[in-house]
């Protein structure tokens, strides 16, 4: 699927330059609601190295204006961490980058998915240079009012094994690969 060229002007970071922007590429490989098994657990496909530019762009996209969040020089001198403060929902970027295109949790990229609810817990701020490993555990699978819900718990640890954040990620999904195909081929 062609990606609108107007998006090019928003590419600012190294990860954005290399990340596959065609959402439909490889959808046949994604885990589906029908395939998911509660209790199954495993690492995401990629690790995520925290950089200043990742945090800066997320903060700006959220409309933040606090210099502690959008001015790296100011943050170096004035922030309690000596770094840009990160928006609490920044783990979204870590998850979408890390989950990749194959394996457990790839259903986060399902065409036709709807977002009903999310819970994110912040244990401590990420630091520049940390290498974040995301562990995925399928935590709930149910049908409510005829809609198939799937939930996974994403645990974000740094390279020393310190738990930094947790995300209970829920989506309402097309149930089977055939259902996904209707959206992927729309």
């Amino acid at each position: 699927m062609a990606v609108p060229t107007r998006l090019d002007k928003f590419v600012k970071t190294e990860k954005q330059r290399h990340f596959p922007k065609d959402f439909m590429t490889g959808w046949e490989e994604y885990e589906t609601w029908a395939d998911a098994t509660v209790g199954q657990s495993g690492p995401a496909q990629r690790t995520f190295v925290i950089t200043e530019e990742d945090i800066l762009d997320y903060n700006k996209a959220c409309g933040e204006t606090d210099p502690l969040m959008i001015d790296p020089d100011y943050a170096r001198k004035n922030s309690p961490t000596g770094e840009l403060l990160q928006h609490p929902i920044f783990v979204t970027t870590i998850a979408f980058y890390s989950l990749g295109e194959k394996g457990i949790g790839t259903w986060i990229r399902t065409p036709g998915a709807r977002n009903p609810q999310q819970r994110i817990e912040i244990i401590e701020p990420f630091k520049y240079g940390e290498v974040v490993t995301t562990t995925v555990t399928t935590s709930q699978k149910f049908v409510q009012r005829g809609k198939p819900y799937l939930q996974m718990l994403l645990d974000f640890h740094n390279e020393k094994g310190v738990l930094k954040a947790r995300w209970w990620c829920s989506l309402i999904l097309p149930e089977t690969q055939a259902d996904v195909a209707r959206f992927a081929n729309a």
Partner: protein, 148 residues
């Protein structure tokens, strides 16, 4: 950002509201920043054909809405406050898709004080987001650690 102390804050305290544009350019920026490139947010033609939400237009990311809701608290008190204090969780539900071109206005009040002892006290803040028609598009509970 300075924040109040746990002993001084009262339930019902109202935060300054936050307004966030969901113009297509804002949604596009969020798509790249979050790496969530779902065409329901960025591709008008696909969104019109697929009608994931029963409407032929792009919509904002749910995680963008969650970010707007959380920002009501962090813009007032800081992600990490000058006096100490920090955000501990955001728990959100989405009740209506945010159509492209909308402006979301989010308001918040302190709902509960949680007494866990010196250095461990926190408050629960209830945040609501509404679109330009006044419809509720989502709400969130935000937990925030406050200095004693």
């Amino acid at each position: 950002m300075s924040n109040p102390t746990f002993s001084k804050i009262e339930t019902g305290y109202a935060f300054p509201s936050v307004a966030q544009s969901y113009a297509q350019s804002a949604i596009d920026h969020y798509a790249l920043a979050s790496l969530d490139m779902n065409p329901v947010h960025t591709n008008e033609e696909w969104a019109a054909r697929a009608q994931v939400f029963g409407m032929p237009v792009t919509v904002g990311h749910g995680m963008m809405t969650m970010s707007t809701l959380a920002s009501v608290v962090t813009r007032a008190w800081g992600v990490i406050g000058k006096n100490g204090g920090s955000i501990r969780y955001v728990d959100s539900k989405f009740t209506k898709p945010v159509k492209v071109g909308e402006t979301v206005t989010a308001t918040a009040k302190v709902k509960q004080k949680h007494f866990h002892g010196p250095g461990k006290n926190w408050v629960q803040v209830l945040v609501e987001g509404k679109d330009s028609t006044g419809d509720l598009i989502g709400f969130a509970e935000v937990g925030y650690n406050l200095p004693d």
